[in-house]
């Protein structure tokens, strides 16, 4: 009984504890919108820097890949003239084949899995990897081919969209990506550009 009375009095008296004034709605809203706009601006400013960083990482990765290939797969040759150029073209052809095969696998998987409602986190990670290579391919002699260049530009856009998906995978964003894939016939163009055959066989074919 005495406990009840104490608790009742306590609750009454506690109403004055840090009693809040009227909510400063408009002022806080202005600050919230300003802070969000400032964050957005920082993200936009950071993007080119991020892109350069990814590009540099991709150059290093491809350099390592080429180095490994040169060490193990290059045929012994006594020819000097013309060999360097042929090797260079061959390396790009090899890199392009591997890249296109991986991208095709990713986009096919993405389309099938997301239609079934699967999470998108694994695809975002792979898309980030491939995005680096896409930029490198666009800056390489491989992009002299107008058809391939157009395809690479479309792939860069799609991969960037997938890379930016949140782990939960917003349904609307996923739907937009899949619509874009279909409208621009990205997978069809990718398949007609990729060498035929299963993944490892394609690479071996290129070699």
């Amino acid at each position: 009984m005495m406990d009840d009375r104490f608790e009742e009095r306590l609750r009454e008296a506690a109403q004055d504890y840090h009693r809040p004034p009227d909510t400063p709605r408009e002022e806080m809203w202005r600050r919230i919108t300003a802070a969000r706009a400032a964050r957005q601006a920082r993200i936009i400013v950071l993007r080119p820097a991020l892109r350069w960083g990814l590009g540099i990482a991709a150059v290093l990765a491809l350099g390592v890949a080429i180095g490994r290939w040169s060490a193990t797969g290059s045929p012994p040759s006594t020819e000097v003239a013309g060999t360097g150029e042929r090797t260079s073209a061959f390396v790009y052809q090899l890199a392009a084949a591997q890249y296109l095969t991986r991208t095709e696998a990713l986009l096919t998987g993405f389309r099938a899995e997301t239609r079934a409602g699967a999470p998108t986190a694994q695809f975002s990670i792979q898309a980030r990897d491939l995005l680096c290579t896409t930029r490198l391919m666009l800056d390489s002699p491989a992009a002299r081919d107008v058809r391939l260049k157009g395809l690479l530009e479309d792939l860069e856009l799609v991969l960037a969209q997938i890379a930016q998906l949140r782990s939960s995978g917003d349904r609307d964003d996923v739907q937009l990506i899949n619509q874009g894939l279909e409208q621009r016939s990205v997978l069809l163009r990718l398949r007609t550009t990729s060498p035929a055959g299963p993944g490892p066989a394609r690479t071996q074919g290129a070699l």
Partner: protein
């Protein structure tokens, strides 16, 4: 517009829906932030931070929970973390003045009941204080407190009980006046 529709529109980047969501929840979030902080600048800062985080993370919100519970969970996390930082900063300043402040003894020199109560609530551990403020001051149910603070309903009840016991102990010399 129901809550699901409002959330969908905010996710789609609709500015009007963002404002509607803010208007629907800002009063309770600010009240809670103010009750915990006891300072207008801090309460504003915590409220603003809560909504900035909420708009950024709305994509991760799962609709099986209530939006208000999710928002209040962000608000209490922001407020309690912010207060810990502020307390560490203030502690250095108050330590120096404490001896002088406590030297004045005797019942006549003590502040009135509400001031003593405020000091006693301030002196509660963070978890007890949050539960006490949310339940006894702001009128949240134990279920809401549990969902907001990520604790069991029974834990919320136990913490409230301990908080009240500590306040009773701190206010022992006022007990006679209260019960009469």
């Amino acid at each position: 517009m129901d809550e699901h529709e409002l959330i969908a529109r905010v996710r789609a980047g609709d500015g009007v829906a963002e404002r509607a969501l803010y208007d629907a929840h800002v009063d309770r979030v600010y009240r809670l932030a103010y009750r915990l902080a006891g300072d207008d600048d801090l309460a504003r800062e915590f409220t603003q931070d809560t909504f900035i985080r909420a708009f950024e993370r709305l994509g991760t919100f799962r609709s099986e929970a209530k939006l208000s519970t999710w928002l209040h969970a962000i608000a209490t996390t922001v407020a309690l973390n912010g207060l810990r930082k502020a307390k560490r900063f203030r502690q250095r300043e108050t330590d120096l003045d404490e001896a002088a402040a406590t030297s004045a003894g005797g019942r006549a020199a003590e502040p009135d009941l509400k001031r003593r109560l405020a000091q006693a609530i301030d002196g509660l551990a963070d978890g007890y204080r949050a539960v006490f403020v949310m339940h006894d001051v702001e009128g949240y149910t134990h279920e809401e407190i549990g969902a907001t603070l990520g604790i069991e309903t029974g834990t919320s009840k136990a913490q409230l009980s301990r908080a009240r016991a500590k306040l009773r102990e701190a206010l022992a010399d006022f007990a006679g006046e209260w019960i009469s």
